[in-house]
Subunit: 354 residues, 5 copies
């Protein structure tokens, strides 16, 4: 989580708008997949060049071009020229270390999202930046690597399910954002399960692993909140936007996603509160157990110390110790010692020290 | 409290507006109970179908249809068609994992509430989502299962008590919200009693149960606050709403409920502060008691250690130890040891270590 | 502090506006005391009925009716009719579990205050709700039981001291609020003294009583803040109000009280910070003392342990132990042991462990 | 710091505007020092009466009257009459327990400041209230006792240094406020030095004195912040004021002081953060040292316990103990014991317990 | 970090606008380096006097004068006269203890920045104040000492790289601010690496060094946040400014830097959260290890205490102790003691105390 800025310093000093890819994962070749559709037609293809994308776009109501892989700046210069994108937008797309935001460039909207997935081990969160360009009759999406989160939407377009084919690019953009946000819920569910599990172990098992798990979960929640907070602002901005690119009938849908982000933030805060409480319970349980142990051990020691003193007394070599020569002395001492021990134990119990 | 999102992931990928019921408790058959009334007439019935509900509605000033049970999506599609509800509203009604909110769809208002009840054991809180649709001459309420919280209002309508029969659907909606909010007070009373009880036990009994009870109460308060905060916004929105569906004379009543929610939030915060203070007192009491025990035991050990050393000295087998052959040596040593022990105890007492 | 809602649940289910008294303390008979005055006339009386109050009101510039005792709802229905009060206002007056607020009903203002007094033991705070109705030529005040906080104002009216007789009901209302707010300062003074006292004891005396006193004071401050915060909003609302009932020349006076409430909140926050600091000092002092004790005792034990070992060595019964037969052995051992003990003490001191 | 309200209760019950001096320090006789000046003339005098002050004022561009000593209310009634001051303003001037604020009375501005000085011991902060009345051609300043903070400004007026003689009363007021605010920096410097000093001692010396010093500094910072926060609001109010008494060219200067107050608040917050961190380091250092000590002592005890057991074994008086009669037994036991001790120490070291 | 105000007190009492340099580092002679350029021409020189700077400025589209070294006030008086700067601006430039801000003086904008660099040891942050004056056709930058952070921009101007030569002084100002902000990322990267390193050591190594490192990093982050927060406000102010000096096409670039500052603040907060969590883990690890040690040692002591008592018993010198004369007694005791020890260890293990 701390290696956000690893390669950003490589960019220091370059003039703004210089296209340098900041990020780790690459694909061999950027892949352009194009969906061109309207209420009654639909076309799907893999384009070889930006030029080809453009040709398809000419005779469709909505064109969705998805680009996987950001490592080749020249491709993006082409895109910039063809779609009239501001150099700073191109720079932002390539720099995958951005916080979610939306910017209105009149001819198009630029939306930066954080797509989150659980890693294979289901223990960590994998974050990927997705950039959306929403124009009057097209949507561009830029991803660092191919992923299957958008597949249900592709299916909906292919099969004409729901209202997606009857709406414009704003609705498509909404659908894409909605999928990203819905996935947060899936992650939160998984985290919620781990928190529930923790709730049970925290009382019985006080290993250091518990503390580390609590802090690991806390870290993930901080990480998510960092992504969702700006998401919330972004969606509030979109639904209240006076851009002509967002149709009036799309607003309730955006409001719906907006409500989801608020819900997510609420849940994150609740989880954080629960984890904080769990840490308290854990610490209190650990110190409780420790105290229990120390108390019992100390009591054992305390009971034997006077007894040891007594046997020491009769181990002395004084010439004149009358007790030593009495027949009843040895068994008598045993009785005294047993009474003493029992008395002390009884006293400790009554004082609730045991 | 952590299983909010259990089934939500089942919905991921479906187009928005798909009617899937998210929630746990079901009734066998959705029940429609219809109240149609005006200042001077009143009719009550159990409807078999949406169509039947509609027929009653035609000739009444206010029609209140209450639906218990949300598991059958086809019923809701009917409702949607008959009352012209937006697909997202229907989706929200079925998805019982929402935060309270209000939405103005011009022809009707959509209000989502969280109804809370103590469980049978009186130890936990049971939360149920209630959706209200407030139209020009009707109110729809959707509940997950039949409950008796609305019964007093039913009685008021039946008997014509209060001003409910002389007012429109906005007043009915207010009355329903008021009942839900008033029930929060009842829950807070019960929690308040448990906190008072804790205040007494926390000083004397330092068991781990106390910590768990404190954190349990804290969790319930977090849970309630999460429901009441958006409730407050919701009511503020309603009373300041410029919707024609909310009459001018209903506004003071809504302001009244709004004040109640603020009061509830205040009380929740006060309780949280009290619990935080109690946790501090508890921890301080535990460590105090522990210290007391350890101190006494350590003092006992410390007093005997020099004595044991002394008796050890006269247990040595040196050939030339003049004291061993003195008559007064043994009783003398006893006197020395008693003086030493008393002196140490006196010293510890003066230092306030005992 | 936790029994706020004790009887509130008794009201659940009743239609709003039902007049039920929620509160504890009652007087046998509600007492109406009426002050009717103007710049040059003044009349004081005890009225037997609402009707009588009204007669006096007719020919005075300002009429102040104070009602002590809220248990008889029928009286309040009379009042409501005569003065044209909204049912919710009457309900609020009787329900003494409200947070301070102000409401503008055009013909009159409704102000709810929390009057606070130290209990007889000077250890706790006694809270009483006071409701004000400020009309064009009258002020109504409702108290739960007779009290003497308003007596100085009564004297001022009687003697025509200050500017009270030359001003309208708004000034009278200001004067009443001012007295209530000024009394908060008196309570804070008393709490301030107790905090000062604590500051001295906290360092020397580490009893559990200190922690409880700190938390008791914290509780009182939380309680006060809960009352003063809405008071501040209330006064801000009044001074910025565009109601014709508040004259322009009364505004600076309201601003003055408003400043006082801010000052009170500031002081409460400062006290809370001081108490938090004191708790830290207390905990640090307790653990410091404990450490001191444990350290000294442990050092004593540690010094004697090797010595006890040594005397044990020469208590062994081996046949061939050459030292046992040397004349100098016994005194030599004493010298060795003393040197060892002194050396260890010296070492501990140098390490600053003593 | 807690005796703010000591005498305030003396005022409870009096009508507002009653002139009672609340505060501690008095001078024998109020002193009026008058500066009357313009771009090309300057006059300085000590006035005997308000009347005399007024005479000087008549023929000067700017008149600055400074009053030291607030104990004689009759003087202030004179002032009130001559300068047309509102009774509440006079009351505020005499009541030296106010938070900084500014009020616009059209003909004049009323500004309340908190002047702070280090006490002689340089350990505490001494707070004095200064009230400013800024009129069209005069400035009145009220202090509780004579002080020399304003002397540099007096010199500037006398010598005509800077632009003060060429500007109106608003600039003079600015200059006075600036001096007060600049003095906060001086105090913060001193506190900063003490914090730096603490940073060094906190790691080595863990006395209770350190905790007390940290909390003392924290208290002072809380005290300062309480004065500076309203100061910031006050200056923001002044610079954005639409009063005709504040000239346009004075605004950048007020903005400059405003920036200073923000800077001071920033520094206070930073210091508080540093102190909080230091407290953590201190606590961690204390517990670290304690642990170190306990660990070493416990290890010593632990090493000797088995040895003492062994020598105890050969101190037993059994008739048939073959070892006792072997020549090599005694030196052999020594070797065993030394090996055991070394082995345990080695084991503890390897486990990093030493 | 605490010596901010060291020399500021030297200024107290001087009239505002007095030019006194507050700061530590000086260069021998202030250095003026002048860049005069336009789309198609470029000139670079080292000026000897302000007059010379001015001459170059006359025939260039944009003139950038960078001044290193602030110790000679007379130079700044010259500058003030030539460029018509307000005395407070000059004072602010010389006083290097300012928080970042922007001020609009109509003819020019005054921007104060904090430039941050890692010290040579890479452990601390070195802060330098940079003041910018942005006029219609010139930019002045004032630095305390020569540095190379602006060198990439100089190169871009020299080589005509990027769009800098085609834009006005507003773009140059943006580029300078951008470089300063980008450098914060570089510092955060370095801090991020140290935090990552800490994350590994914190679990294994519990030295006091870890706590100090955590607090050191916390201090640096507090320090950075203190600089970046006002930077954020400053940039928000600039991009929303209605000054004619900021061209419309520069706004997206300023918005970009603004986003960067938000990102930086986000990262700082995340790092602070991580450090807080690490401190918790550290404390929990330390106390865990300590408990482990104490537990093992206490168990050893506890096991031997009864054994030592037993051997003490048979070291007693009673005349009548039948066991002493049995052949099997000595080996029998050994067996009993071994069984006892093993039994206790087994019991402790089952109780999970070991």
């Amino acid at each position: 989580m701390t290696n956000h800025h690893k390669k950003r310093s490589a960019k220091a000093g370059h003039p703004p708008g210089t296209l340098i890819h900041i990020g780790e994962r690459k694909v061999d070749q950027p892949i352009f997949s194009v969906f061109a559709y309207g209420a009654d037609h639909f076309e799907e293809m893999r384009a070889a060049s930006v030029e080809e994308c453009r040709r398809v776009k000419a005779h469709a109501e909505v064109t969705w071009i998805n680009i996987d892989g950001l490592h080749d700046p020249t491709v993006f210069e082409d895109f910039g020229r063809h779609f009239g994108l501001h150099p700073l937008v191109l720079e932002d797309i390539l720099n995958t270390d951005h916080r979610p935001k939306t910017e209105d460039y009149e001819d198009y909207l630029h939306v930066v999202l954080k797509m989150m997935n659980l890693t294979k081990s289901k223990r960590d969160i994998d974050t990927e930046q997705v950039s959306l360009i929403v124009g009057a009759d097209y949507v561009l999406t830029f991803q660092e690597r191919p992923g299957d989160l958008f597949d249900p939407i592709r299916d909906r377009i292919r099969l004409g399910k729901g209202r997606i084919r009857n709406h414009g690019p704003d609705y498509l953009a909404y659908a894409l954002i909605d999928v990203v946000v819905d996935n947060y819920f899936a992650i939160l569910e998984r985290l919620g399960e781990r928190i529930e599990l923790l709730e049970e172990t925290v009382i019985n098992d006080s290993g250091a692993a518990t503390v580390r798990e609590i802090h690991h979960l806390k870290g993930l929640l901080i990480h998510m909140r960092k992504a969702v907070w700006p998401m919330r602002e972004l969606l509030d901005g979109l639904r209240k936007s006076d851009s002509t690119l967002i149709g009036r009938e799309t607003v309730p849908f955006l409001t719906d996603v907006y409500d989801h982000t608020i819900h997510i933030i609420d849940t994150i805060e609740t989880y954080r509160d629960l984890l904080a409480g769990m840490l308290d319970i854990h610490l209190s349980a650990v110190s409780n157990r420790m105290n229990q142990v120390m108390k019992v051990l100390t009591v054992i020691a305390t009971v034997f110390i006077p007894l040891t003193f007594l046997v020491g007394v009769y181990g002395m070599n004084f010439q004149y110790m009358p007790e030593l020569h009495k027949r009843w002395a040895y068994p008598g001492l045993w009785i005294v010692m047993i009474l003493l021990a029992v008395g002390m134990l009884f006293f400790f119990r009554r004082k609730k020290w045991l």
